[in-house]
Symmetry: C2
Subunit: 219 residues, 2 copies
């Protein structure tokens, strides 16, 4: 049962601040909610990493985070959401939009990825790695990840692409293109999971495959 494989980790017992932290200046209530959310997520990922996903019950997570199971489901509609929810899509959109307009679509995307990925892997490394491992390993999460790529990454990409190429937001070609990009990302994630590349090589692999897309896959 690969989904219960135990993973060595050293997540802090208490939640540290994360990359895209914007706690400043929020109403107290909101700040507290964000904190609770983080606490739940951190404890959950730690437990998943230590005991496996299936072997960890929501009750255990709730206990560790010192909340009730009811509250857990108020913050995360499903157990899966704790793993697949991240905050990177809007950042990617921003970075993509900030690329100089003279770049071709593919070039802009390559520049975006080159700017983001090393950052990502550096800052929240522990969490990112647990997440990738879980989402490529546990069947339920694999499925769920796709759906989150569709709702998040694909949607955001499609919009940015349409915008940049002066097309309507529901343009079918932009849509297909965005899917191809998502495909490249998937391919890289699974290449890593299958041990074909190391984490450090992932940005290069992604860059290479984006180039391939732009070249029409001359196989």
């Amino acid at each position: 049962m690969p989904q219960n494989r135990t993973m060595s980790t050293s997540l802090p017992e208490h939640p540290a601040d994360r990359l895209s932290d914007r706690l400043a200046g929020l109403p107290l209530r909101e700040r507290k909610k964000l904190k609770t959310r983080r606490t739940i997520q951190d404890h959950a990922l730690r437990l998943f990493g230590a005991q496996g996903y299936d072997a960890t019950t929501v009750e255990q997570i709730a206990e560790a985070a010192e909340i009730s199971p009811s509250t857990f489901f108020r913050y995360f509609p499903t157990k899966e959401d704790v793993v697949v929810t991240d905050e990177y899509d809007p950042i990617m959109a921003d970075v993509l939009r900030a690329q100089p307009p003279e770049l071709s679509m593919i070039e802009a995307l390559r520049a975006t990825m080159r700017a983001m990925l090393p950052q990502m892997f550096a800052v929240d490394q522990e969490i990112v790695m647990i997440r990738i491992r879980l989402t490529t390993t546990v069947p339920a999460l694999r499925a769920r990840t796709f759906e989150s790529l569709r709702e998040g990454t694909h949607t955001v990409l499609k919009e940015a692409v349409a915008e940049r190429t002066g097309r309507p937001g529901d343009d079918l070609e932009a849509d297909a293109f965005a899917w191809a990009i998502v495909g490249v990302l998937m391919s890289a994630m699974y290449a890593w999971m299958d041990g074909k590349v190391s984490i450090e090589e992932m940005p290069d692999l992604i860059d290479h495959n984006l180039e391939l897309v732009g070249a029409g896959f001359p196989l």
Copy 2:
């Protein structure tokens, strides 16, 4: 709740023969098992179509198919599998391998799709349409569909592509390419679900997008 939207249908109460039927010459026991499997699937899809996916319980399906719930789970590991399981991937692989070797990869794929899709929509039409509607509409099934595309379509495509281009089975470029193709299929399915194309236009849309892939997405 879109997942519970009722759909008009006229599936026969009792299972008819399907496209890829290979019941002939099998041991009696095997034949009976296949029949039971079909019966379950047909009753399930009919009920899903009539009452909605979430509103239909496994117990109801079991009752309609005149088996016990235990038996249901023996044939389909999850309720989702009843919907996402199909037999088209190996057929696609065969058709693709049968394409003349002088065609480029993309051309071979386009020819394959042009040969298969109209067939598919014609023969099992009712079932195919219920299936597409469910898999693009019900969140749980959306996620599950991706996973089945990964296990099935993507894997089969990747192998056929590697084979045709004389690469190893685990070639990373073939892998990325196969993902791009899957992306095109996804794009078409959702375009239909969003009402942007009719069922009849889908083959053309897919063909067009495959052409785009081959051209490197000149957006």
